[in-house]
Amino acid sequence: MKHVVIIGNGISGITAARHIRKLSDFEITVISAETDYFFSRTALMYVFMGHMKFEHIKPYEDWFWEKNKINLINARVNKIAVSDKKLHLSENQPIDYDILILALGSVTSTYGWPGQDLKGVQGLYSYQDMELMEQNVKNVKHAVITGGGLIGVEMAEMLMTRGVEVTFLVREKGYWQNVLPEEESQLISRHIRSHGVELKLETELQEIIGDDNGRVKAVKTNHGEILECEFVGLTAGVKPNIKLLEGTPVETGRGILVDPYLKTSVEDIYAIGDCVEMRIPGEGRRSVEAVWYVGRMMGETVAHTVSGYETAYKPGKWFNSAKFFDIEYQTYGNAGNVLLAGEDKFYWEDASGTKCLKLVFEKETHILKGINVFGLRMRHEVCDRWLKENRTIFYVMEHLAEVDFNPEFYLKSEYEILKQFNEAGFGPEVVLTEKQGMLSKLIGG
């Protein structure tokens, strides 16, 4: 019986463990120095804000692991001895493995800012980061967050719930504009401001200034402005956590390099999730994708391979989601910050400026390439199908009712969107496919 050891109990590692258990009778051990049990990393913010307790963000009850014969070890792996297939741990005896899966996650990116190690300066990724933040925000009146991505806006929201005034430094002209197109970026920038966050665009952190006790007291921006603060959030992204691989034959680039089977350069060692860099990324995909869904999919895939059902990692159409304060965001396919050659777009925004829809399509064929949607919920299954079936935007417009995933009784935006679409004159006028009336909805299919 083979012993599969997984380092990391995040979504990637745990998904792999669960699926290996389903597919094999291997002995499975998951090692993590972060927490005893798997938790949802994306939900840490809700624990901080008091929406949930830590126990609520554990997706499985504690008895689950023993019942499914998945061994959990809370320890840090100090060294991987590749030649004799052994792991040296901080606490326990060394462990032998037959197959090793690296699900090491990410670490906060820092760029060598002066003062980045001062007290009160931190990123937000791990459980320990959240605990540290709990300590660091005590008596804080003013915080500066630097780096306009998802973690930055989360941190802003978290700090606001503690009555902290937040100044948010963003390098681009709009929030998250290295990912979002300008209109969407502006919409979210406005929303962030409406919540009382001071958003400073085109502003970068230059230096963090400490007091005599080694605690942050201000930051200096690239415009020479000094902002007093007692807390600094470093949220300029994350990068693969590959420190453990130093001095091992496992090849790394930005992340741990893997082939389509998620195999590293060393036999019987696989890597999944945030820490991975694909040698050949799939079409329309990036080589490093540090998102929950990718971790889950890689975990599921590698489980098949190590259980004897060799399976290449083939992610489908890109999708992602997030929430910025009150506005939900979903994206399907590729609707990035800049249009590629031969692409065109359709953008609709509602009167309140809190909902919008972006369609990116091929100019020539009108085939849909990507969707961004804010403040509206769309059906993943329908979007995915449209993208795969190469549907045109005319088809999409005609079938807008089908994609609606908002709760019942929400005001429908379809007609407004369609009106604007027809006015834009991309082609022949589109009529919305007859929506089911109340009665036919009740009785019919």
Partner: protein, 599 residues
């Protein structure tokens, strides 16, 4: 500046609200008790008991008693004293029995012997004759083996007469004692609440409502979006001291309401004017309860409207429960009473409405002409047609979170506590055992009641149907639905009764599970296992378990409140009705094409 103004209004509201609560609590003690014979005249219409009770209570005349405990004790002692006197007067004595035996030839009991033992036309003799004949006629002509044997049987009859006939007709049996304790205490209450009930309504309910509204309204100024900030840091909503205190208060309130209403007479006196204006009668304990209940749903309904104002589904169903409580549960039944029609809640459905088939309810409906027959037909149609048809099209939510009174309170007053429900697998297992047991209990109890109604016999399947219905009323109707159901909001969440106890929810749930178009759809592969849905599920459903494996959520207990969908940060959940085919769905997470072949 605006922000601090809002905080100021909120704080003022809180102070006003707490002031109202304090005055309400204080009003409990703001009465003295003064006995007058008139109080007995109003409530004790049986001549003998009336005279005796007045005689026993005579020393109390003119006294002012400061504590209800003390006054209630005097009243119940007096009633017990009357019972002793009546027992002394009317009970059949040992000597009487010996007399009967001695005149019975060869130990053969003859009913005619009664006439000679209890002769004369005195009240006592007449009563003894008649009651012995009524209770002992079945013995006529019986021959006994020995005197001891005969004495034993005869004293059994004498005991029955003491227990039932004398207590019931000449004294105060336990039901009458309970009613009179309450009625006489209420009638004897004097003090500021009695003198100025409307003033006290304003000082208690009035201040509470104003305070609550001041506290809630500034929320409109905030951006829409559900804010569950600090719910688990709050003493009220995370089983802190405030939650435990509130739960304890509610539990005590319910215990008094159901079992010892004589202690809360001052609160009932306070709402007398409201009751008078609605139905022309003094308030009873259940009027007080209905009044507070409706106010709670309305005020906390406003809170729901504000909290979920970005979410029309939540607002619609909150408006719906506010309407059904106010109109159907509170006003219409009271107005029916004023029109001399049967008290009837048109939206209450058996077996939640467990006394729907009790003989007195049935008789009342049958005696009330066309309207009564319509009510009976309506009630039965809801059970056999309304429930399955509506659940088929909409799911059980049409009732549980849109119409029901228990649901109405849970969804408004209870909303701040929804996160306290237990999500563990163990809790789910326990829930299934308990709720279906209650359903079986309700069905057996009602079958017994109907059997007795038609056959006249109180024995059904070896059980006394009166004891069974009484046990159901005490343990399920009052203790479970009331004391535990609401008292435990701050301890176990707002749906303890609905989840573990309600037999109607069990029935609706069976239909929802097996024959309905309702489901909660999981959106492709978008779940991030954050747990907001499970945490805020008041029914303790581990919604995430399904969502994170890409499976539709179909559970008999789901009341369709829609909060899981509302709090989901990624738009993963949608309450839907649709074709039954494929309703359960396959657990497939979209996005990974690697495994398409192996699937």
């Amino acid at each position: 500046m605006v922000h601090s103004n809002m905080e100021y209004i909120r704080k003022t509201g809180l102070i006003v609200f707490i002031t109202g609560i304090i005055i309400f609590l204080a009003s409990f003690f703001l009465a003295k008790y003064s006995y007058t014979p008139e109080t007995v005249d109003i409530h004790v219409y049986e001549t003998e008991q009336n005279m005796l009770l007045k005689k026993v209570m005579e020393p109390e005349e003119g006294k002012i008693i400061s504590w209800n405990i003390s006054y209630i004790k005097r009243v119940s002692d007096a009633m017990a004293r009357v019972n002793i006197i009546q027992l002394e007067t009317y009970s059949i004595k040992d000597a009487d029995l010996d007399n009967i035996i001695s005149i019975s030839r060869e130990l053969k009991f003859s009913l005619s012997s009664i006439d000679s033992v209890f002769e004369g036309s005195s009240r006592e003799a007449v009563f003894k004759r008649e009651s012995f004949k009524a209770y002992g006629s079945w013995l006529d002509g019986r021959v006994f083996d020995s005197e001891t044997d005969m004495k034993g049987v005869l004293s059994g009859i004498s005991d029955d007469i003491s227990h039932y006939e004398i207590a019931g007709k000449k004294g105060f049996d336990r039901y009458r004692t309970k009613d009179l304790k309450y009625a006489l205490t209420k009638a004897a209450s004097v003090g500021p609440v009695r003198d100025h009930p409307i003033l006290f309504i304003l000082l208690t309910y009035g201040l509470c409502i104003i305070g609550a509204v001041l506290y809630l309204l500034p929320g409109i100024k905030e951006l829409p979006g559900i804010k569950n900030n600090h719910i688990f840091n709050n003493q009220m909503t995370n089983r802190g001291w405030l939650g435990i205190l509130t739960g304890s208060f509610l539990i005590i309130f319910y215990i008094l309401l159901y079992y010892q209403p004589e202690y809360m007479t001052n609160w009932i006196i306070m709402v007398d004017p409201v009751s008078m204006s609605l139905k022309g009668l003094e308030a009873g304990r259940f009027f007080l309860y209905g009044f507070i209940y409706t106010l709670a749903i309305l005020v906390m309904g406003v809170r729901m409207m504000i909290k979920y104002r970005g979410n029309p589904y939540q607002q619609m169903r909150t408006g719906s429960v506010m309407f059904f409580q106010t109109a159907f549960a509170f006003l219409i039944p009271e107005i029916l009473l004023r029109l001399n029609k049967p008290y009837f809640d048109f939206k209450n459905i058996w077996p939640l409405d467990y006394d729907f088939f009790f003989d007195n309810s049935l008789n009342q409906l049958l005696d009330s002409g066309t309207l009564g027959i319509f009510m009976l037909g309506w009630g039965i149609s809801l059970i056999i047609i309304g429930v399955p048809v509506m659940v088929y099209f909409f799911g059980k939510r049409w009732y549980c979170s849109w119409v029901c009174g228990c649901g109405g309170l849970a969804e408004t007053l209870g909303d701040p506590f929804r996160q306290l429900s237990d999500k563990s697998l163990r809790a789910w297992k326990t829930e299934r055992v308990i709720i279906y047991s209650v359903l079986v209990f309700a069905v057996v109890m009602t079958a017994g009641v109907l059997y007795t109604y038609w056959s006249g016999s109180s024995q059904f399947a070896g059980l006394n149907t009166y004891s069974v219905r009484e046990a159901y009323g005490f343990w399920i109707g009052a203790a479970f639905a009331g004391v535990v159901g609401t008292g435990f909001y701050p301890l176990m969440g707002n749906r303890v009764w609905c989840r573990f106890g309600c037999p109607l929810a069990a029935y609706l749930g069976i239909v929802q599970r097996f024959k309905s178009r309702f489901r909660i759809t999981t959106n492709g592969g978008q779940c991030i296992s954050c747990g907001n849905c499970s945490t805020y599920c008041e029914m303790g459903i581990d919604v995430r378990w399904y969502a994170q494996r890409g499976q539709n959520i179909i559970r008999s207990s789901c009341v369709g409140c829609g909060i899981c969908s509302a709090v989901c940060p990624r738009g993963v959940l949608k309450l839907e009705t649709g074709n039954e085919k494929g309703r359960f769905g396959k657990p497939v997470l979209l996005g990974n094409e690697s495994l398409l072949d192996s699937r």
